[in-house]
């Protein structure tokens, strides 16, 4: 059984002769119940790939399927299937409507389930979801501005969970956060994965963070996949030169940086 599958996905920006290839024929499989890490630097196309999966960008060719059902395109079936893939964005402040109480933002996620809930049921669900991400449910009526960066990111995670997603895509969700807050969010993801057996595509430029949360890893560069496999194998013995360079570039606590071949 496989959850989210990308097959030969190509994405271009612009048109005519000035068109640029952002994603160049990527195959990637996020297997059910696992966390798949996607690593790459700026311009690698990793975020574009995620946007294709949730319908925020269009693929020029190729398919994205969820349990075999196509989730690209404009058909009603594809749209409905696409709602089962939810994304959490990099900047939580931009991802929350500044004029909407956070409780309502989380409740918005419930739309995706298609269920018609009564007011009390809805409030109970929001309460439970905020509790789930360790945000005080009594603060549901407050605006995003009154929360800290880490709390905001947990609220956006709660909104994504409200949609009852089959796959959660996390796009650089700790990059805008302080390191101490990053740890809290990563631990939350661990918890959710264990408790809800969540399937996740975890995108980051930070190899150490990806390693910490992922079962499998894919390395992208300039729109192409350069290497993929089980996390331990890829990071212990990378085949590709670029993966090796990435690994070498990660500073290690208390060890002098090796800069000779930079």
């Amino acid at each position: 059984m496989s959850a989210l599958e990308f097959r030969g996905v190509r994405v271009t920006y612009g048109h005519g002769r000035s068109a640029q290839l952002a994603v160049d024929g990527v195959d990637l499989t996020v297997r059910s119940g696992t966390t798949h890490g996607l690593v790459g630097e700026s311009g690698s196309g990793k975020s574009t790939l995620a946007r294709v999966a949730v319908g925020l960008a269009a693929a020029r060719s190729g398919t994205v399927t969820l349990d075999g059902a196509d989730i690209t395109g404009r058909s009603a079936a594809a749209r409905a299937a696409r709602r089962r893939v939810q994304m959490v964005f990099q900047d939580p402040l931009a991802a929350l409507d500044p004029r909407m109480p956070v409780g309502l933002s989380v409740a918005e996620g419930l739309l995706a389930t298609g269920q018609r809930l009564s007011r009390t049921d809805r409030e109970a669900r929001v309460h439970a979801l905020l509790d789930r991400v360790h945000v005080d449910p009594r603060r549901a009526g407050e605006l995003p501005a009154t929360f800290s960066g880490g709390q905001r990111q947990r609220i956006t995670i709660a909104r994504a969970l409200a949609a009852d997603p089959a796959v959660l895509i996390a796009d650089e969700i700790t990059s805008a956060l302080d390191v101490s807050v990053q740890g809290v969010v990563l631990n939350l993801l661990r918890e959710l994965r264990q408790d809800l057996s969540l399937t996740m595509l975890f995108i980051s430029h930070n190899l150490a963070v990806v390693r910490y949360v992922s079962d499998e890893v894919t390395v992208m560069r300039a729109g192409r996949v350069v290497e993929h496999g089980p996390t331990e194998d890829v990071l212990a013995a990378p085949d590709d030169d670029y993966t090796q360079e990435l690994l070498r570039s990660v500073p290690i606590m208390g060890q002098p940086l090796d800069l000779e071949d930079a």
Binding site: P98, E108, V179, G183, L207, Y212, L259
Partner: protein, 578 residues
């Protein structure tokens, strides 16, 4: 929301605007009732009287009191203004929304059409429309109203486009929120407030436009009268009775100012208060111990405060001591709000006038950085201190060639001839491994990648004879592979000049790998100083937490990350940064 409104209304400006609006409204409603008679009674004996106590603005050619006429004209002038403003807003919102929801090609066409209309001044549009609808009050209202449509169409279009590309709208789309629901729940609530602000400001413009049209004889026609017409009639008798023209003019300007101030008041409420300037301390506190002469940087009891939004002083650095020796590589590590960057800026003497610095000592090679430096010290600083900032996109001047920016330090401070400086610039670019340095010198910064720009910044610091390079988060905006190249350039620079380095970063692993000594800061205080090779001996719980909470390539994946105890922290610190 409501409390802030109430607070705004209590400011002097708020009170003034409130009173102004109240007066305009009262005169508009009751003006005719009270002054109607005085405005219509013809006193043949007092025709065209100049200003007097009985008639402050004088009388017109039928002997009617002009002050009374100005007051009575308030209603028509304000009503026409409101009518035209309403038309502009309604038409603009309609056109703007249509432009926002159309498919790509027609949307671009509508936007281009709006742009085209905007390239014409409103008066030309209004004149054009008044040809069609004729020189009447309604004709003028239509003309002024239509002339304002493109302004609001553009505004709505821009606002809607910026909201529509926000991540929270993307998130709503992902959960299947219909376009109609998204528009009602997200787009409208976020574009209405700026729209209200602009409506108030635009009402002021409309009032003046109306007066202009009536003044030209293209608006309100006799026997009706608004301020513009009264001004027109008055200006024809300006030799005899200047107040006849100035009176209506005052009414126009005052009402216009009330509307404009209302707009300003509303927009200030949205953007929050203003920052003030911190006062310099009256006298420097006495020095307690002599500065050490072998130190490149010698800081004792440094405190830095900024003016908060409410005008109160907020201290961000609470008494920091720091010492950097010759050629030493020191790193300052801390999270946002730790005060690490402002400390570095204070050492470089580059804090703006809004910062209040008090200290026992901030010295760079014996130069007191807390006061204005003399010409000789300026030269020394220019040649011996180098800075590298976080954002490579904006730390080089986009309008000047790379070569000029490299050369100017040696040309200005060392009087190096241009050709010699250019040769040195090429050498320095080579040192930081920039390919084709000669060609790069002629180019502009935007032709370089982010990593190259940071390396140009390093090369720029090497043009003098640097004793200290301050690098404030120099690689945070860069990819890890590029980070290595920049750090390599920094290390090469350090080795070739023997300069000391002060590296500011949030990444403790990076700092420990690059520096000799690590200074850990938190909430404006140095919590611990450590030898970079002895991080494992850290004693302060914050340092230990900081080291443990970041996953690295050997972290045990089966266990949760240790979490820094943040329970005792005021969330405010993070808020002020966001």
């Amino acid at each position: 929301m409501i409390p802030t409104l109430r607070r705004t209304l209590r400011t002097p400006q708020g009170i003034a605007v409130g009173i102004g609006l109240l007066v305009v409204a009262l005169v508009a409603v009751f003006g005719e009732l009270v002054f109607g008679d005085a405005a219509t009674v013809r006193t043949i004996g007092e025709r065209q009287a100049p200003a007097s106590l009985a008639h402050p603005f004088g009388t017109d050619d039928l002997g009617r009191d002009l002050l009374a006429r100005v007051l009575v004209a308030t209603r028509l002038s304000v009503l026409l203004t409101l009518g035209a403003t309403a038309m502009s807003v309604a038409g603009g919102v309609l056109l703007g929304v249509v432009a926002a929801v159309l498919p790509r090609t027609p949307r671009r066409l509508v936007a281009a059409f709006i742009d085209m209309l905007l390239s014409f001044p409103w008066l030309l549009l209004a004149l054009f429309f008044s040809v069609i609808w004729g020189a009447t009050a309604t004709g003028a209202m239509l003309a002024v109203g239509f002339a304002g449509v493109p302004v609001f169409a553009r505004l709505v279009n821009t606002l809607a486009a910026s909201v529509a590309s926000a991540d929270y709208v993307h998130a709503a789309r992902m959960v299947g929120s219909s376009p109609l629901r998204t528009a009602a729940r997200h787009v409208l609530p976020n574009i209405v407030p700026p729209l209200v602000v602009n409506t108030a400001t635009h009402a002021s413009v409309t009032l003046l436009s109306f007066a202009a049209l009536s003044f030209l004889g293209l608006g309100v026609q006799a026997p009706e009268y608004d301020w513009g017409r009264l001004l027109n009639e008055g200006s024809q008798r300006i030799y005899l009775a200047p107040m006849a023209a100035i009176g209506p003019g005052i009414a126009i300007v005052l009402t216009g100012v009330v509307f404009a101030l209302l707009g300003e008041l509303l927009s200030e409420r949205r953007s929050g208060g203003r920052a003030g300037r911190a006062q310099r301390p009256a006298a420097a506190p006495p020095r307690q111990d002599p500065p050490s002469l072998d130190a490149v940087v010698d800081v004792a009891a440094l405190r830095i405060a900024f003016r908060g939004p409410g005008g109160e002083l907020v201290e961000r650095v609470h008494g920091v001591d720091l010492h950097v020796g010759e050629g030493e590589v020191v790193g300052i590590v801390g999270e946002s709000g730790s005060g690490k960057s402002v400390t570095a800026m204070a050492i470089a003497g580059l804090l703006g006038p809004d910062a209040l610095v008090t200290s026992e000592r901030v010295a760079f090679r014996g130069i007191d950085m807390t006061r204005a430096v003399g010409a000789a010290d300026r030269r020394t600083l220019g040649l011996e201190q180098a800075m590298i900032f976080q954002d490579p996109q904006s730390s080089l001047n986009p309008a000047l060639s790379v070569g000029l920016q490299l050369r100017e330090v040696s040309e200005t401070h060392a009087r190096t001839p241009r050709r010699v400086a250019a040769r040195r610039a090429v050498e320095m670019l080579r040192l930081v491994r920039i390919p084709e340095p000669e060609r790069r010198l002629r180019g502009l910064p935007h032709e370089l990648s982010g990593g190259m720009r940071q390396r140009v910044m390093i090369a720029m610091g090497l043009m003098g004879r640097p004793r200290l390079i301050v690098a404030d988060e120099p690689t945070t905006a860069l990819d890890v592979t590029v980070q290595r190249q920049v750090l390599r350039a920094l290390r090469d620079a350090q080795r070739s000049t023997g300069a000391a380095i002060l590296l500011i970063s949030h990444d403790i692993a990076l700092v420990s790998g690059f520096c000799d000594r690590v200074v850990v800061m938190r909430h404006g205080v140095v919590v611990e100083e450590l030898d970079a090779r002895r991080l494992h001996e850290a004693r302060h719980p914050y340092t230990r937490g900081l080291i443990a909470c970041v996953p690295d390539l050997t972290t045990d994946r089966s266990r949760p990350l240790p979490v820094l105890d943040t329970a005792d922290e005021p969330a405010l610190l993070e808020e002020t940064r966001a």
